[in-house]
């Protein structure tokens, strides 16, 4: 069976389960069925509020994701290849890994202020330790023979990074991005919930206060829909390209 068919059936089964549950609950204000969401979805879409808030959240996710990934990859690579540095930085990593997201967010808002910088910094700081840990494992597993080869043949530093190091780290970077993007968007929502006046998280906060379950679902599902599209159109094709040599 082709992948797209399996994907379709799988999602359809999920919708079916939802419909059945909504029927069992019997109260649209507690659990609206998928059909009940169409009307509010269309009205939010028409007013522009949905696209505006979705856009704002997506931008925050992209900014935090790029920052966390680049800093995390560099740190992970350094710590994985330099045991001396690793010994010094590892305790910090453990501290930050175990610092609750909420604490970092609150502290950032308190210290930096209720602004965009604080929001992005809070999300980025939450994600960096995670990326670093994953990439460090990859860096520790780098092939020493390829390193020796590059050294003997005096490969250029940039060529070495791009064509020897990066392909070896690719599965780890893919793993970190996958888990990263999902975690980041959830933290972005918390950040928006607590201290921003736009974005999906803010809208959810708003409709939570109004006890409007349908709108809460409309906003969160729109973002999930967006993420599925990103996954299928961007992440999976990119991964297939990077893995081509394994399948050849």
């Amino acid at each position: 069976m082709p992948n797209s068919v399996i994907r379709g059936i799988s999602l359809l089964a999920f919708m079916l389960m939802w419909v059945v549950l909504a029927k069992l609950a019997g109260d649209p204000s507690v659990l609206p069925s998928p059909g009940d969401l169409v009307q509010p979805f269309l009205s939010e879409l028409a007013s522009g509020a949905l696209l505006y808030n979705l856009g704002v959240t997506v931008l925050r996710v992209i900014a935090a994701f790029c920052l966390a990934m680049s800093i995390g990859v560099v740190l992970g690579l350094l710590m994985g290849t330099r045991p001396g540095l690793d010994r010094w930085l590892d305790p910090w990593l453990v501290v930050f890994l175990n610092l609750p997201a909420l604490v970092l967010i609150v502290l950032c808002y308190l210290w930096i202020g209720l602004n965009e910088t604080a929001a992005i910094v809070a999300v980025t700081l939450n994600k960096i330790p995670n990326v670093t840990t994953i990439i460090r494992e990859g860096a520790r597993a780098l092939n020493p023979e390829l390193k020796a080869m590059a050294q003997v043949f005096r490969m250029r530093r940039t060529t070495y990074l791009r064509h020897v190091i990066l392909p070896q780290l690719a599965p780890f970077i893919a793993g970190a991005s996958r888990s990263g993007i999902a975690v980041i968007w959830k933290i972005v929502l918390v950040v928006e919930f607590l201290g921003r006046s736009n974005g999906i998280g803010f809208q959810i906060h708003l409709y939570f206060q109004l006890f409007d379950v349908a709108m809460v679902l409309v906003y969160s599902l729109s973002f999930i829909g967006f993420m599925l599209v990103v996954e299928w159109l961007l992440l999976q094709p990119a991964e297939r390209r990077v893995r081509a040599w394994r399948l050849a």
Binding site: A148, V152, F153, H163, W245
Partner: protein, 211 residues
Amino acid sequence: MILRVDIKSKFFGKNQILKDVGFMLKPGECLAILGKSGIGKSTLLRLVAGIDTDFEGSVQRPDALAFVFQEPTLLPWRSALDNLLLVHSDLSRARALDMLAKVGLSDKADQYPGQLSLGQQRRLALARAFAGRPELLILDEPFVSLDEATAAEMTELTRTLMTEISPATLFVTHEREQARQLADRTLELAGTPATVVPNVVHPVFQREDVK
């Protein structure tokens, strides 16, 4: 002299592996290093190549260096052609293709190393080594784990390329026959820690004579 090696000692932890190993190579000369497996031949080559710098003594080597490892040590995620081009930044595409043709891989330029047989991967590693026109070529048992016919083929190919590019060559083997076919002279390692076997008359091979 293109290579001067004077190694006083090499330790791994508390174990001394090498003791007083010294030799020199003239341009174009080929020296085979013989010795039982595990004696420290590969370690010696790594010290000579500068991969391992943790030892007592000194090594003077040229800049244009090439190494053929025991394993092919290719980039599995890049094509055969890119394996030459990425390693040698100043190598032109035409010369890389020419080099592939010389080792009989002209139709494999676009394939990944994983699609090649072990013999072909080793030939690619050989092409990579010679493509940089090295002044010093180091081979670490490059024909190990090949069947007899392929190994003979590889030896012949190596000899042809050595004649054409004439680098000073240092290679490790545990087969005297192979040493006879490629080397001008041999040096034997023995003992713990390994050192150059004294009082051995190093036979002078005429590699041109052995055909």
